[in-house]
């Protein structure tokens, strides 16, 4: 494990939004070629952590190293050079809704690759074929279903043949079959093209299908990082509760009964 090349390193990140502490000391290493899955409850800051990794949110303290470079020290050009090697699938798809599916995929290609228009067209067709949406080039995002938007988002994320792909809840809101298809796609990409993947999700099926290693985020910290086996045989009660989906346990969803009574009569 140790001799593997570290491609992303998150060091002791703290982040507050207003006066709510979202991340409080996150440490994480992602190795080249692996699929790292970050899991955690809704609203626990998974997307925020991902945003730190791609540099759209700056930490209050701590730093993110991308291939050994501190992202905070990069200027706009340096950051752009890094970003051309990223692909990101956003939680909501984030398709440009004034552009057709094809134009969505072309945006970055036209700007950064300076290819012939015919070649761009062929590349777009290939990426759409990968996500099973060939023939949908001319549609507008508003004409697509939620699952289709996600797939177009995925096609766009890999349009530039990135080295690292970030997925924010790739399978949330999809039917089980489509979720399976997306998971397989993520696997294929990472195995065949040796892409490094960082995925954020709370879909347990998906976690155990795609992850090489899993990190559990809870209350602003990483509770445990490990392989699938290590996580399945965890001794950490909170991680156990999460992967088994138990309503009761060390992570309390409901406040205690006395609290409730107090609140009610107050």
């Amino acid at each position: 494990m140790e001799e593997k090349e570290v491609i992303i390193e998150v060091k002791d990140i703290y982040k507050k939004f207003g006066n709510r502490q979202i991340l409080s000391g996150v440490n994480l290493k992602v190795y080249k070629g692996e699929t790292m899955v970050i899991m955690g409850g809704s609203g626990c800051g998974k997307s925020t952590l991902l945003r730190h990794m791609v540099g759209t949110v700056k930490p209050d303290s701590g730093s993110v190293y991308m291939r050994g470079q501190n992202m905070a020290e990069l200027d706009e050009n340096g950051l752009d050079a890094l970003r051309k090697k990223f692909g990101i699938l956003f939680q909501s798809g984030a398709l440009f809704d004034s552009l057709t599916v094809k134009e969505n995929l072309c945006m970055a290609l036209r700007e950064h690759a300076k290819l012939d228009e015919n070649i761009i067209s062929i590349m777009v067709k290939m990426k759409l074929e990968l996500v099973g949406l060939r023939g949908f080039e001319a549609l507008m995002p508003s004409q697509l279903s939620g699952g289709m938007k996600k797939r177009v988002g995925l096609a766009r994320a890999i349009a530039m043949d990135p080295e690292i792909v970030f997925y924010d809840e790739p399978t949330t809101g999809l039917d089980p079959i489509m979720a399976g298809v997306i998971d397989k796609l993520i696997l294929d990409l990472s195995k065949k093209l040796s892409i490094t993947s960082v995925a954020v999700t709370h879909d347990m099926n998906s976690v155990f299908r795609i992850a090489d290693r899993i990190a559990m985020l809870h209350e602003g910290r990483i509770l445990q990082v490990g392989t699938q086996e290590e996580i399945k045989n965890t001794t950490n009660p909170m991680v156990k509760q999460f992967i088994e989906g138990q309503p009761e346990g060390p992570v309390n969803f409901f406040m205690s009964k006395e609290d409730y009574l107090e609140e009610l009569i107050k």
Binding site: R51, V54, G55, T56, E76, L79, D80, A81, R83, K84, F86, I88, F90, Q91, S92, A94, L95, F96, D97, S98, M107, A108, E111, H112, M160
Partner: protein, 265 residues
């Protein structure tokens, strides 16, 4: 009392920060407008034309409507006074000068702030809250270059054009009253109009509208790109955008008029 002072202090600080942020946006916009093309990062011509079409061509009817009736109203309002002085022919000059110097640029600016400025904020705000702006950024496509510059450029071109049109239509409105209601000879009316109207009148008005265009585009984009909090946030940002543009148009109109007035332009 302490709370009141704190509130006032807070508002002042926020306002100050916003002024700095908007100035920064202006600098960035100008950078992408003039320096970007030399670094092989030009702004797409298509998107500029698309914006010009939306802002200019599709605002024609409302601008013509407002200008025509403003011209008619000024003529009707001033005619009795001038008539009592026996100088009813001066309606022509009054309509022409007040429209070109003041009313056409300001009214057109306000109309466009309501129509185009609001649309800019709503569109960019929606893009912001649905992560589209972030998507652009992470694709190494600068949002200022791709979203702000086309709108800015289109508006500082189109608003002066619309203002010149409003000048013409407004003067025509005054002409209608002058000729058909006040029975001024048509040739004489036109003649008087041009006797009073100088290039300088038109140019100061156009210059104003140029500034208003920049204000509307910058405020619209700034509010849009700083939208927070879903659909409700977009609504709030849009309202703020219109109100701020209105205030700034009136303020900058006053400042510009004072400059023209004191420097004898």
């Amino acid at each position: 009392m302490k709370k009141l002072l704190e509130n006032i202090g807070g508002t002042v600080i926020t306002t100050f920060r916003q002024i700095i942020d908007v100035s920064r946006l202006l600098v960035e916009t100008v950078y992408w407008l003039f320096v970007g093309p030399f670094k092989k990062k030009p702004v797409k011509r298509d998107s500029i034309f698309e914006q010009m079409l939306f802002m200019g061509v599709k605002s024609l009817i409302i601008v013509v409507f407002v200008a025509l009736f403003t011209g008619i109203v000024i003529a009707m309002q001033t005619a009795p006074q001038l008539a009592s002085l026996g100088a009813v022919i001066y309606v022509a000059g009054l309509v022409a000068v007040s429209l070109t110097r003041e009313l056409a640029p300001v009214l057109t600016g306000l109309v466009i702030a309501g129509r185009v400025g609001a649309a800019i904020t709503a569109e960019l705000g929606t893009m912001k809250v649905t992560e589209q702006v972030e998507a652009l950024e992470t694709m190494a496509l600068n949002p200022v270059r791709f979203l702000v510059v086309p709108r800015f450029l289109a508006l500082i071109i189109m608003l002066p054009c619309l203002t010149i049109l409003a000048d013409a239509v407004g003067i025509f409105g005054g002409y209608l009253i002058g000729v058909f209601n006040l029975n001024i000879n048509s040739g004489l009316y036109i003649d008087t109009t041009f006797r009073f109207l100088t290039t300088k009148d038109v140019m100061t008005g156009v210059l104003k509208s140029f500034v208003f265009g920049a204000v509307i585009a910058l405020i619209g984009c700034y509010q849009g790109l700083n939208t927070r909090g879903g659909a409700e946030g977009v609504g709030k940002a849009t309202t703020t955008s219109i109100v701020t543009s209105f205030i700034l148009i009136i303020l900058s109109d006053c400042v510009l008029t004072a400059i023209f007035f004191f420097s004898d332009i």
